[in-house]
C-alpha cells in the first residue's frame, strides 16, 4: 500500500511538472512573439488536432463506451468508424472550413449566435441557448460519473466520496479562472492519452494471444460461458461479442440507434466542438489536423471498444466470469476494473491521472458553453442589455450547472455513462443538426424553415425521451405518473428506438418544405455570410 502511494505520488508529480512546463512554454511563446503579430499566431496542426480530440473524446467515451463494448461487443466499432468518418473527416473537411469562414464573416462568438446571425433571428439564439443550458448538465454529469468510477476502482475508495472530492476540485478549477482549457495543456493530455491507449491496445492483444487468436477466443466465448451468464442479454437479441445482435431486437436498436447513430452523427452538432472551428487559423491547419485527428480517434475509441469487448476473454480466463459479472452488472466499471486487475499499478495510475485531467478540460469547456449560453445567448438576447448583469447571470449559470451536474451524479443509476452521453448527442442532433448543416450548405434555407425544424426537432426529441424511450422514460417517471404506463407505445421496437431516428428526419423534411414555401433569404445576408467561402 505504502509502495502504491509512492508510485502514485511520483506519477502525479511528473504529470504536474509536465503541465507546468508546457504552460510555461505556451506563456513564453505568446509573450515573446508579439501577441498580435501574424507570425506568432500559427498553431501547430498537432496541437490543434490533439486539443480538439481531447475535447471530443472525454472520459465518457473511454470509460463509458469502452464498458458498453464489454456488453455489446465489437459491433460497437461502427461507432469508431463514424467517429473517424463523420466526427473527423466530414466535420473538419466540410463543416469546419465553412463554420470558420461564416462564423468570422458574421462575427459570431457562440454556436447559438452563429445560427442566429446566419438566419437573422434572435429567437434562434435564445431558444438554442436555453436547450444547451438545460440539456448539457446531463452530459457534464456523466463525465463526472466516469471520473468518479475510475477513482473508485483504482484507488479502492467509496464512490460517493470520490464524486464529492472530484466535484470540489472541478468547482475550484472553474472558480479560479481556469475555465478555458489552454490549448497546449489539452494537447499534452491528448499526447499522453495517445501513448497510454497505444500501450493498452498492444497489452490487450498481448494478454489474449494476438489479434486473430484474441478475436477468435472472443468469438468462441459465447459458446463456452454458462448460458445463464448472458441470459438477460440473449433474451433481448444478444448473439455474441463478435456478431451483431438479432436484427430488429431491442439489443440491436439500442446498439445501432442510440449508441452508434446517436453519438456517431450527433457529434456534428455539438456546440463546444462547432465553436472550436472558429478558433482555427486557416484551412491548411484543418487539412493537416485531419491526418492527426483520424489516427488519434482510431486509437482512442477503437482501443477502448476493443479492450472493453476483449476484457470478457481476460476475465473469463482468469476468473471464470464475464465482464458484467465481475463488475456486479455496472458496465461503467468494466474498463477501470480491467485496468486495475490486468495491468501494472503504475499504468493504472497513469491512466487515471490522464483521464482525470482530460475530463477536467472537457468539463470546463462544457461549463463555459453553458455559462455563455445563459449569459450571452439567453439573457442578453432577451433583455437586450450587454455586459454588467450578464456577467452575474453567466457566473450564476456556471454555478448552477456545476451543482446540477453533481446532484445528477448522485441520482443517476448505474450503466448510465454511455446512454446519458448518447441522449445528449441525440437531443443536439434533433434540435440543431439540420439547421447547422443548412446554415453551412443550403443558401435557400429560410428563417421560417430552420425555426420550424429547430422547434419541432427539439420538442420531438424531448417528448420521445420523456414518453417513449424506455430507458429515460422509466428513469424520469413522468409518463408513468401521467398515463399509468411507463411508455406510450409498448409494442417493439418503439421503446428501444432512439429519438434521433424520429426527430432528425422530421426536422429535416419540415425545414426543407417550409423553406421552399417561404420567401428566400435576402441577398445581402447570403452574400455577407458566404463571402469568401
Amino acid at each position: 500500500m505504502a509502495n502504491d502511494i509512492l508510485v502514485l505520488s511520483i506519477i502525479v508529480l511528473i504529470y504536474l511538472a509536465l503541465v507546468i512546463y508546457v504552460g510555461y512554454v505556451a506563456w513564453r511563446r505568446t509573450k515573446s512573439a508579439d501577441d498580435y503579430m501574424v507570425a506568432g499566431r500559427t498553431t501547430h496542426p498537432f496541437i490543434m488536432a490533439l486539443s480538439y480530440g481531447a475535447t471530443f473524446i472525454s472520459t465518457a467515451a473511454i470509460v463509458g463506451f469502452g464498458g458498453t463494448a464489454g456488453v455489446y461487443g465489437m459491433g460497437l466499432l461502427w461507432l469508431t468508424f463514424l467517429n473517424i468518418l463523420v466526427g473527423i473527416f466530414i466535420a473538419f473537411v466540410f463543416f469546419g472550413k465553412r463554420t470558420r469562414k461564416i462564423g468570422h464573416n458574421l462575427s459570431a462568438l457562440t454556436f447559438p449566435e452563429f445560427l442566429s446571425k446566419r438566419f437573422n433571428s434572435r429567437f434562434i439564439q435564445y431558444f438554442s441557448g436555453a436547450v444547451i443550458f438545460l440539456g448539457m448538465p446531463l452530459y457534464a454529469a456523466v463525465v463526472l460519473i466516469g471520473m468518479a468510477r475510475f477513482v473508485e476502482t483504482t484507488l479502492n475508495i467509496n464512490y460517493n466520496f470520490a464524486l464529492v472530492a472530484l466535484a470540489v476540485i472541478v468547482a475550484l478549477y472553474v472558480i479560479f479562472g481556469g475555465i478555458r482549457g489552454v490549448m497546449y495543456t489539452d494537447a499534452l493530455q491528448g499526447t499522453i492519452m495517445f501513448v497510454v491507449m497505444a500501450i493498452l491496445l498492444v497489452a490487450i492483444y498481448w494478454i489474449t494471444g494476438g489479434v486473430i487468436a484474441g478475436n477468435e477466443a472472443l468469438t468462441n466465448l459465447v459458446n463456452v460461458v454458462p448460458a445463464k451468464a448472458t441470459a438477460t442479454a440473449t433474451a433481448t437479441g444478444f448473439t455474441g461479442w463478435t456478431s451483431m445482435p438479432t436484427f430488429g431486437s431491442p439489443f440491436w436498436w439500442t446498439l445501432v440507434s442510440t449508441l452508434i447513430l446517436g453519438v456517431g452523427i450527433g457529434v456534428l452538432s455539438q456546440p463546444q466542438l462547432a465553436v472550436r472551428f472558429m478558433t482555427v487559423k486557416s484551412n491548411k491547419e484543418l487539412n493537416r489536423a485531419v491526418l492527426i485527428g483520424g489516427v488519434f480517434i482510431f486509437l482512442m475509441t477503437g482501443t477502448a471498444f476493443i479492450v472493453g469487448a476483449l476484457s470478457n476473454v481476460y476475465f473469463f480466463d482468469s476468473m471464470g466470469k464475464i465482464a458484467m459479472q465481475v463488475v456486479g452488472g455496472n458496465a461503467d466499471k468494466i474498463i477501470p476494473a480491467f485496468i486495475a486487475m490486468a495491468l501494472p499499478v503504475w499504468f493504472a495510475y497513469l491512466f487515471m491521472i490522464t483521464l482525470l485531467s482530460a475530463a477536467m478540460s472537457t468539463l470546463s469547456a462544457q461549463f463555459h458553453v453553458q455559462g455563455t449560453a445563459l449569459g450571452r445567448d439567453v439573457y442578453e438576447t432577451v433583455s437586450g442589455k450587454k455586459g454588467g448583469a450578464s456577467v452575474m447571470v453567466a457566473r450564476l449559470g456556471i454555478t448552477v450547472a456545476v451543482v446540477i451536474a453533481v446532484i445528477l451524479g448522485f441520482l443517476l443509476p448505474a450503466n448510465i455513462i454511455a446512454v446519458g452521453t448518447a441522449m445528449w448527442f441525440s437531443i443536439t442532433a434533433g434540435a440543431f443538426l439540420t439547421m447547422y448543416a443548412f446554415a453551412c450548405f443550403w443558401k435557400r434555407s429560410t428563417k421560417a424553415g430552420v425555426i420550424s425544424g429547430l422547434v419541432v426537432g427539439t420538442v420531438i426529441s424531448l417528448f420521445w425521451i420523456v414518453f417513449e424511450y424506455k430507458k429515460s422514460a422509466e428513469a424520469l417517471g413522468i409518463c408513468k405518473a401521467l398515463t399509468g404506463q411507463s411508455v406510450l407505445i409498448t409494442a417493439q421496437p418503439w421503446p428501444t428506438v432512439d429519438s434521433i431516428v424520429i426527430a432528425l428526419p422530421i426536422a429535416f423534411i419540415l425545414t426543407v418544405v417550409v423553406s421552399l414555401l417561404t420567401k428566400p433569404p435576402s441577398k445581402e445576408l447570403i452574400d455577407k455570410s458566404f463571402s469568401g467561402v
Binding site: T279, K281, N283, L291
Partner: protein
C-alpha cells in the same frame, strides 16, 4: 473468418475503422500544404475574431483568458 471474426458486419466495422483512418491520413498528407493561400489574411481574420471573443469573456463572463 476475417481477423478471427465470423460476422461480416463486425469484421466489416473493424476493417472500416482502419480504412476510415487511412482516408484521413491520405487526405491530410495530400493536402498538407493546401488551403494556405492567403494564410496571412485568414490568420488576421481569426485574430479579429479572437479579440472579440476575449472581449466578450472579460466583459460578459468576467473571465481572463490565459491563452492570449
Amino acid at each position: 473468418m476475417v481477423l478471427g471474426i465470423e460476422d461480416p458486419w463486425v469484421w466489416g466495422a473493424y476493417i472500416g475503422c482502419i480504412l476510415a483512418m487511412l482516408l484521413c491520413v491520405v487526405y491530410g498528407a495530400l493536402n498538407w500544404n493546401k488551403g494556405g493561400e492567403d494564410e496571412e489574411g485568414q490568420i488576421k481574420e481569426e485574430m479579429e475574431w479572437h479579440k472579440k471573443e476575449k472581449e466578450m469573456e472579460e466583459k460578459e463572463l468576467g473571465i481572463w483568458d490565459e491563452e492570449g
